[in-house]
C-alpha cells in the first residue's frame, strides 16, 4: 500500500505532469523524468512512482499517438512485433517487481539510467541510411 505522504503541491504536480507529458509524447523519456521527480522530490519509492508513471503514460500517450498516426510517423510492422515481444516480458517483470526490495529496484533503475545516459550522450546524429 501507499504509505509515505507525497511532499509536493498538487498544482506543481500538474505542471510537472504537463512538462514530462510533452516529452513522453515525443517518446523521449518523460516517464523516466517523472519517476525521478516522484522519487527524488516527492518522496515516493520506486514501486509507487512506477505505478503512477504507468497510469500517467497511458493518458499522455493516447493524444500524442493520434497526432503521430495522422502524421504517418508510426511504423506499423515494427510496432506489432515489438508489442508481441513486450507483453509477456512486462507481465513477468511486473510480477517479479512487486516481490523485490524497493531499494534494489531503485539501484537497478540507476544502473539502467547511467548505462543509457552515457550511450545517448555519445551517440552520433541519425545513422540510418533511409
Amino acid at each position: 500500500m501507499d504509505s509515505s505522504p507525497k511532499k509536493t503541491m498538487w498544482w506543481i504536480d500538474v505542471l510537472i505532469g504537463t512538462a514530462t507529458g510533452i516529452l513522453s509524447g515525443f517518446g523521449i523519456g518523460g516517464g523516466t523524468l517523472l519517476i525521478l521527480w516522484l522519487t527524488l522530490f516527492a518522496g515516493l519509492n520506486q514501486l509507487q512512482a512506477g505505478g503512477i508513471n504507468l497510469l500517467y503514460f497511458v493518458f499522455s500517450a493516447v493524444p500524442a499517438l493520434i497526432s503521430h498516426a495522422k502524421n504517418k510517423l508510426i511504423d506499423k510492422k515494427i510496432l506489432i512485433f515489438c508489442i508481441i515481444g513486450g507483453i509477456p516480458s512486462c507481465i513477468i517483470a511486473s510480477l517479479i517487481a512487486s516481490q523485490l526490495d524497493v531499494t534494489w529496484l531503485r539501484k537497478g533503475f540507476g544502473v539502467l539510467l547511467l548505462f543509457i545516459g552515457i550511450k545517448e550522450l555519445f551517440s552520433p546524429k541519425q545513422d540510418t541510411k533511409k
Partner: protein, 119 residues
C-alpha cells in the same frame, strides 16, 4: 537477423524495463530501433510511444492489483500528462529531436547517479 525477430527482442527488453521499473521502456526502444533495426529517428520516437502504450496498460493493471498505485496521488499527473500529450502531438514535427536527446541524457545521468548512490 530479420527485422521481425529484432523487433520481438527489442519489445521484450522494453517490456522488462516497463514491468520492473514502471518506466524506461523507451530508453531501450529508441536506441535499438534507430541503430539496430535502422528505422528513421523521428519514426522511432513516435513508434516507441505506440509500443509502450499497451505495455504500460498491462503493467499498470498489474501494479494496481498489487496495491502499488495511489489514484489520488496520481490524479494531478494524469491531468498534466493529458495536456502535455496533446501539446506534444502538435509540436512533434518541429522539434529538434537530437538536441533534446542530449539534454535528456544529461538529466538521466544525474538521476542515475542519485538513484544508484541513494542521496
Amino acid at each position: 537477423m530479420k527485422n521481425k525477430v529484432k523487433s520481438v527482442i527489442t519489445g521484450a527488453l522494453a517490456g522488462l524495463a516497463n514491468g520492473f521499473f514502471g518506466a524506461g521502456g523507451g530508453l531501450f526502444l529508441v536506441p535499438l530501433l534507430t541503430r539496430w533495426i535502422k528505422i528513421d529517428e523521428r519514426k522511432a520516437f513516435a513508434t516507441s510511444v505506440g509500443i509502450i502504450l499497451p505495455l504500460s496498460i498491462i503493467s499498470a493493471i498489474m501494479y494496481f492489483m498489487k496495491g502499488s498505485i495511489n489514484l489520488l496521488s496520481a490524479l494531478p499527473f494524469l491531468i498534466g500528462g493529458t495536456v502535455g500529450g496533446i501539446i506534444s502531438g502538435h509540436l512533434f514535427k518541429k522539434v529538434p529531436i537530437h538536441a533534446l536527446r542530449k539534454i535528456f541524457a544529461l538529466l538521466i545521468l544525474y538521476g542515475g547517479i542519485r538513484a544508484l548512490f541513494g542521496f
